[in-house]
């Protein structure tokens, strides 16, 4: 692991250039907040770049901008999609949805629970949306839940009542079930115990070995050392 940029001959998958994000809060005295400025980053296939920096440095915001969850204020977010570069800041919503379906995955810290949908189908959902048969998707979902040590008796239940750690594992399974070439991870292991963290680390190492490019946030040093190929330091923007 090196802290500086290294030459990499693998295929670039994500390119951020001059990326900036500001919020204009119209109902809070028209407050203007700069959270990201002049971010340049290239992410290659098989790389796992971990964002580092103190709380408030904009790490989660950067992931959200890349995913299109936040709009970009300045600069470009180029993603290799179907072999071509697509600038997500200029893409139509339908294009962004297609990129999310097939190219760009995102695992947040918290599972967004859908009422009445059992854990098995919460996990299988993205694979069905990507075109797989329900049975095939459920098989894959079972395999992932088993590997992540989610007890089988819970699979038929909606995860709303699960513990934080169980929900997080369901969320990871949901995020990994489609093998997308680009993966954004926002502290996916925050509430997991050591054993389950090991499983997640293995899953991520397998994904990297298969060529997945990962951009993530991990506060846990051990996890970071195991999965990161490079750190990307970030700092809080000075308040003007």
């Amino acid at each position: 692991m090196t802290a500086s940029t290294t030459t990499n001959h693998a295929l670039p998958m994500l390119e951020l250039r001059g990326l900036g994000k500001s919020f204009e809060l119209h109902h809070q005295d028209d407050t203007h907040l700069d959270v990201l400025s002049d971010i340049d980053l290239t992410l290659h296939a098989g790389e796992c770049v971990v964002l580092s920096g103190p709380s408030g440095a904009g790490k989660s915001s950067l992931l959200r901008v890349v995913y299109g969850n936040y709009r970009t204020s300045r600069g470009t977010v180029r993603v290799r999609h179907d072999g071509d570069w697509l600038d997500l800041t200029e893409a139509t919503p339908h294009q962004v949805l297609d990129v999310r379906r097939r190219t760009l995955g995102y695992v947040s810290q918290f599972l967004r629970v859908i009422p009445r949908v059992p854990a098995l189908d919460v996990v299988a959902g993205p694979l069905v949306e990507a075109g797989a048969h329900v049975e095939e998707a459920r098989d894959r979902s079972s395999a992932l839940l088993r590997r992540l040590n989610v007890p089988e008796r819970l699979w038929r239940l909606p995860p709303g009542t699960f513990s934080g750690g169980e929900q997080q594992r369901v969320n990871i399974a949901r995020g990994l079930i489609v093998a997308r070439p680009l993966l954004l991870l926002d502290e996916p292991t925050a509430s997991l115990d050591g054993g389950n963290r090991d499983v997640v680390a293995e899953l991520l190492q397998e994904a990297s070995a298969a060529g997945t490019a990962v951009l993530g946030i991990f506060h846990d040093d051990d996890m970071r050392h195991r999965v990161a190929t490079r750190l990307f330091p970030m700092r809080q923007l000075s308040i003007a």
């Binding site: 919020f23 969850n69 859908i114 069905v128």
Partner: protein, 256 residues
């Protein structure tokens, strides 16, 4: 992917008053689009104008037919519009009593659109009706009961069955869960989510509830004063609202 519906510069005026003004959007097959905004913002007017229940004051709605040709709704006569509404589209009203026929049985309500399309075999109609009651979680034994004996949530599920039985390609929904208990609402939303996925329906849904939009729709349009003030991915609109009105709307939601 090609659009199923193309709306361009659509307006409907009630005399001098603006119902909706200069609205454009594309809807793709299999996609659910939510229209959000407060009461009086023009959501329902827009929905009814797109669905050709109200006449457009200006602008156009084009529908992509199964044979790959485009149909311009302005050029369609009343009979053509009725045929489209009956055979290709569905409309779910906020109050199920507006969308149901209250003086005939639940089974007859479900079967009506099939009969309108020419199906006459009684046994077959009854079997399909029972199948659909089950699908919307109503006991098929109640096939002969009048909808007036159903609860509000059951009536809404019956209306959904009645609308979807002919497998329309496009469904319009006007606040289908407003006025129902939260638990009943969750059941109907889950049902809609499942049916939309299973049947590959495209749908336009009006709601004032942002949580409903988040749950069901990949894309959302925000309306204020008859105009669309913001449009985009639902998660983007809710997590990073740009327009002052959307920011107000999002910040006014109570979180539990």
């Amino acid at each position: 992917m090609s659009a199923l519906l193309q709306v361009r510069g659509l307006s409907h005026h009630y005399g001098q008053r603006v119902g909706c003004q200069d609205v454009s959007f594309d809807l793709h097959p299999g996609e659910l689009l939510c229209i959000v905004g407060e009461s009086g913002s023009g959501k329902s007017t827009l929905l009814k104008t797109v669905a050709a229940q109200l006449t457009a004051s200006s602008g156009s709605v084009r529908y992509h037919q199964r044979d790959d040709s485009w149909l311009d709704l302005n050029e369609l006569d009343e009979a053509g519009r009725r045929r489209l509404a009956r055979e290709e589209w569905g409309f779910v009203t906020q109050n199920p009593r507006d969308g149901l026929r209250l003086n005939v049985s639940a089974g007859a309500n479900v079967a009506e659109r099939l009969m309108a399309k020419g199906m006459r075999n009684y046994g077959q109609l009854r079997a399909i009706a029972k199948g659909w009651l089950e699908r919307v979680e109503i006991d098929p034994a109640r096939v002969d009961d009048a909808p007036t004996s159903f609860s509000g949530g059951m009536q809404q599920r019956l209306q959904i069955a009645r609308t979807l039985v002919t497998q329309p390609r496009l469904v319009f929904m006007d606040e289908p869960t407003a006025g129902l208990d939260v638990s009943v609402q969750a059941r109907i939303l889950d049902l809609l989510r499942r049916l939309v996925n299973e049947l590959g329906l495209a749908a336009v849904m009006v709601t004032h509830d942002l949580a409903v939009a988040r749950l069901l729709a990949a894309r959302t349009m925000v309306m204020q004063g008859g105009r669309v003030v913001e449009t985009g991915l639902t998660d983007q609109i809710l997590d990073d609202p740009q327009h002052p009105y959307t920011q107000l709307l999002v910040s006014s939601v109570l979180t539990t």
